[in-house]
Subunit: 364 residues, 2 copies
């Protein structure tokens, strides 16, 4: 049976890097490795330009019906002045919320070939392999009240609300513990229980889920500020880090940068497993943004986008072998010395988006 | 006229490092450099053990009446189970809130002698000099509702509230712009306006204060996740970073760790200037914590605590020359090769808390 892939290239370099993924999908279909049916939609500024919204209802329906979504990037200075509810990011946030993609998996791995591109010392990051499990549909991102009100004296008052409930924390904790079992068996749970009530509940629920269901996995609680510090000081102490939406946003970006190769890192946003079909909604996207400064120049690094396809093969289609092969192909072209501008050392020769994509496909 | 210094050593290594500061204060008094009257109180776990609260009303009164407070550190596993409202951190949070210490200044500087202690490459951090200006009395730390409620089905729901008003943002922005003028004239304002309404208001107010009062200072807006990334990638691009309470907590800890010398970094928490007297309430504290693991061993690094006294001389007592001299004394002992355990390279000889304190005093 064929599988539905819905592509949302978005803005900036999104379409350029998505093109390389399409080439790989086409090849997999023609080689008989898979039967992917692809469709494409608009999101972010591209959707705004066409429909004055950050994602159309039609595309939301297609996203809902897809077996997996591949998402490029959204945003850019062109849309800085659009109404707040239609800003490019709103399309992404709506996809996460409406599809209930609560589990955001952000691996931060350091490719040996690229360890020198990191601002950290080689010995601190070489072999780094962290998985950040970020809660993605709760917290400050979606809690209400969320508003700006004008007070009597003309001043304004802005409010955002951090909300977490027991089941929200339970389900993300389970994802983290399950993933840790396939890795080094150690979960770090990060919050600010010394200041936030949501942190108190977070710690309490993670502790209970651990004791009741995952006592064989090692659990360490770490305050979010200390976690940011320890990521800089000695990132290799970490295995899986589970944290809330806002801390996850910041900690995962810091972790990504440790590897020296932001353009390299994919992510997966997963929904709950359907009890009947065993399938789950899922969106895959690079960790990097739309990079308006290099858009249209053919120099963007497609590896994070290709790595996102590899994650889709693994988590949405159970194609573990193909996922491993595609990731090995990425590692191989890097070991062979191929570099896009973002990961090239001073003076090193660089290739463009298309050449990098083609090389990965060839090595696949 | 004599000046009142109120000392709150707190828990863990707090008393040990405060002892070194006391020696410097005594020497300044006896050398006729200053006329400091000191008094001492309890905070955190130490206060809980004595009075079952995180700070007593008597000590709060003394804190209110002081010209400056020197604060050590609070917390430790001993008090993990005390009632939430009496946890050690509550004493610090109450001091900040009741004294309206809204401006938290956290310098992250990299001493040349210590550049190799950083996990980052020497060239990335050598000469680093960032000042983080963190809003300290608003946001998620103090907004209400702040509660955990039990729902009908037995699940719990935790809420924290991020609140900012126009005047709160205005006053912290002014502090940042004023400080930038004495430095490299560049303020980075960090928030998440793409997700949070408080970020939208933050950006709007900072932009207006800049245009109306500080157009000659360079202003760059940067999303908090990107700021965390850029701190890791290229920290030397920053001068002053102004941000909210929670982002400031995390970003300043990450920045502190870049320097490779957490035990080295002081901070100042300042209130508003009294229109009549020109004085302001102020609390000075190291950025590091109470370090229960090394407590009582005489090995803690007193430099962050001594640096906090230097900040007090500068910001509370206008003793700029003495502040500079004390900071130069710190730099000198480091350049001379003196190292406590936390900043020693492998195999390097180390000195204890008392020797380090005495060496700084001698170089002062
Ligand atoms: C684009 C933005 C809304 C988003 C977020 O804050 O979650 C991004 O930073 C991310 O981490 O995916
Ligand atoms: C001790 C704790 C309450 C405090 C905070 O979160 O502000 C600390 O981390 C700090 O940064 O001063």
């Amino acid at each position: 049976m064929s599988k539905k892939l819905f592509l949302l290239p978005g803005d900036g370099i999104g379409p350029e890097i998505m093109a390389e993924v399409k080439a790989i999908i086409d090849w997999m279909n023609s080689a008989g490795l898979a039967k992917f049916e692809t469709d494409e939609g608009l999101v972010g500024g591209a959707a705004y330009d066409a429909h004055q919204v950050s994602i159309s209802e039609g595309d939301m329906e297609k996203a809902m019906a897809a077996d997996a979504i591949l998402f490029g990037a959204v945003g850019g200075p062109k849309w800085d002045k659009v109404p707040y509810e239609h800003r490019p990011e709103a399309g992404l946030l709506r996809l996460r919320k409406d599809l209930d993609l609560f589990a955001n998996l952000r691996p931060a791995i350091c490719y040996p070939a690229l360890a020198d591109a990191s601002s950290l010392k080689r010995e601190v990051v070489e072999g780094l392999d962290i998985l950040i499990v970020r809660e993605l549909t709760g917290g400050t991102y979606f809690g209400t009240p969320k508003e700006i009100v004008t007070l009597e004296n003309g001043d304004k008052r802005a409010v955002d609300t951090q909300v977490y409930t027991t089941p929200e924390i339970e389900r993300i904790a389970r994802v983290a513990f399950e993933l840790a079992k396939t890795r080094r068996n150690h979960v770090f749970s990060s919050e600010k229980h010394n200041v936030m009530r949501s942190g108190v509940l977070w710690k309490e629920v993670v502790t209970r889920v651990h004791a009741e269901e995952y006592a064989d996995v090692q659990l360490t609680h770490i305050l979010a500020d200390n976690c940011a510090m320890q990521l800089v000081r000695n990132p290799k102490q970490f295995d899986v880090i589970v944290t809330d939406n806002l801390f996850g946003d910041i900690l995962s970006d810091a972790a990504a940068m440790l590897t020296g190769s932001l353009g390299m890192l994919p992510s997966a946003s997963l929904g709950a497993e359907d009890a009947k079909t065993g399938s789950r909604k899922a969106l895959y996207e690079p960790v990097h943004g739309s990079a308006p400064d290099i858009t249209g120049k053919g120099v963007a690094n497609p590896i994070a986008m290709i790595g996102s396809l590899a994650m889709a093969l693994r988590y949405s289609f159970g194609m573990i072998e193909e996922a491993n092969k595609l990731e090995a192909a990425i590692a191989k072209v890097l070991a062979d010395g191929l570099r896009t501008g973002d990961i090239a050392a001073k003076g090193e020769a660089t290739v463009g988006t298309k050449d990098m994509g083609a090389a990965v496909l060839k090595a696949f």
